[in-house]
């Protein structure tokens, strides 16, 4: 009979099933090898220990908790909740969704102000006599140009440093310090913008009708009707000029007003 080495016997012991004997070669090896015999005994003891662990019972309220959980699942199993669950469980889909939201937000924010900071750059051209801190070597061009930003090349007409987001030329001015020094040598100096008044932008339409009311001692109710038949009534309190109270917001388009109740 072919004798086995300790390694093969150990593998056979580990692969042995419950109530399963060893092969003849392994049995013969065990008769002579005390170490393998000990391994076999340990394996048998361990096997008995593991199989003796038995099963653990579920708690008595297992069914009740499961029913509650299923009911909760059913209650919140709307398509959007399922979609959101899928989006949050699948990392790739969730990441793509987040990226989509970020890109959409960026597009919205950029599109909301297509002119960028163009309004701020369009300050009224201050006469040179009203800005004592400004001395320029080219007064004829300073009248027509907007104020120049910090670190901006005045010779670039304010287009490089504060170009609008939609414009193509987005390259920042290079070496502004050197430019300033060079311009100073050429006769330019910097401007002190802190002394200038803030720019006021008025969006009022000069063609809009203006109604003037005297300040009465009694509350005044003003009723306005737009071109579509909608009526807005505004109550003006007698003393405070700034507060207006919208007591009735009964604007109804003609199409909806004529539809009657039950249209929804």
């Amino acid at each position: 009979m072919k004798t086995m080495d300790c390694r093969s016997v150990g593998q056979e012991i580990d692969a042995r099933e419950r109530n399963q004997g060893l092969s003849g070669g392994a049995t013969e090896h065990l008769a002579h090898c005390a170490g393998c015999r000990q391994i076999a005994e340990q394996g048998a003891t361990l096997h008995a220990l593991v199989t003796g662990l038995g099963t653990v019972s579920a708690p008595p309220d297992f069914d009740m908790r499961l029913r509650a959980r299923l009911a909760r699942e059913r209650r919140y199993s709307s398509p959007w909740v399922n979609f959101w669950r899928q989006a949050t469980t699948a990392p790739a889909v969730g990441l793509a969704f987040s990226l989509l939201v970020v890109v959409g937000l960026a597009v919205y924010l950029l599109g909301a102000d297509p002119g960028g900071s163009g309004k701020l750059a369009k300050a009224p051209a201050a006469p040179t006599s009203q800005s004592p801190n400004v001395t320029t070597g080219a007064p004829d061009t300073a009248k027509n140009n907007p104020p120049v930003g910090i670190g901006q090349d005045p010779a670039s007409d304010g287009k490089k440093a504060f170009s609008a987001p939609g414009s193509k030329d987005l390259t920042p001015p290079r070496q502004p310090r050197n430019e300033v020094v060079r311009n100073q040598k050429a006769g330019f100096t910097s401007r002190e913008f802190n002394s200038l008044p803030a720019v006021t932008v008025k969006d009022s339409d000069p063609s809009a009708p203006v109604v003037s009311l005297s300040a009465p001692m009694q509350p005044v109710v003003v009723s306005m009707r737009d071109d579509r038949g909608g009526t807005r009534t505004i109550s003006l309190p007698p003393v405070t000029f700034g507060s207006q109270k919208l007591i009735q917001n009964q604007y109804q388009p003609v199409s909806l007003a004529s539809a009657g109740k039950g249209a929804w």
Binding site: E41, V50, T55
Partner: protein
Amino acid sequence: MSTVTSLNELDFAAVLPAPVVDRVSDHALLAAAEAGDQDAFAELVGRYRNQITSYIYRMTNDYEGAVDLAQETFVRVYRAASRYQTTHAFSTYIYRIATNLAISELRKRKRRRLVSMTGFFDTRDGQEPVEFNPPDSRPLQDVALVDTERRTAVKRAISTLPEKYRAPLVLRDVEGKSYDEIASILRTSEGTVKSRISRARGFLRDKMRDYL
């Protein structure tokens, strides 16, 4: 009012269990549950709740977590009842779900564990060391205490095995599944299952040497 004069007059039929009906297959129960029969699903839960809870408990060594995962297993079975295919036994199917959940939980725990201060047992398999407390070498007086200690040590030692060895060992030696079924549950070959079980027993014997 009549009085009972002998035991034969007692109505034992009223307290005897109902006659045993033919056991409805798991497939039929799941199909009924999909059609909206809540009792069928309850019967299915009753059949497998202890097995699944016990199996996950042996995998994770955490009873409360095992109960939660067992419930999650049944929730997933319920949710995916329409996609269930009868090519495999239902027990294989539900054990596969439970195995995946248990392994996911073990991986989560592994990520949560920053530094192992007591992990000096190497798995010899290139995986990270796992925690296992060394036994107290002082002799214990009470045999019952020895048994309890050994049982606790076995549970801890099983929970320190790598996942790929732990699952087949528990399925084979604790749950008593066949190699064929284990191979189906773990989606691997029968030879791989046998090899992993053999290696798992070797690891376990090494860890438990001082207790045996």
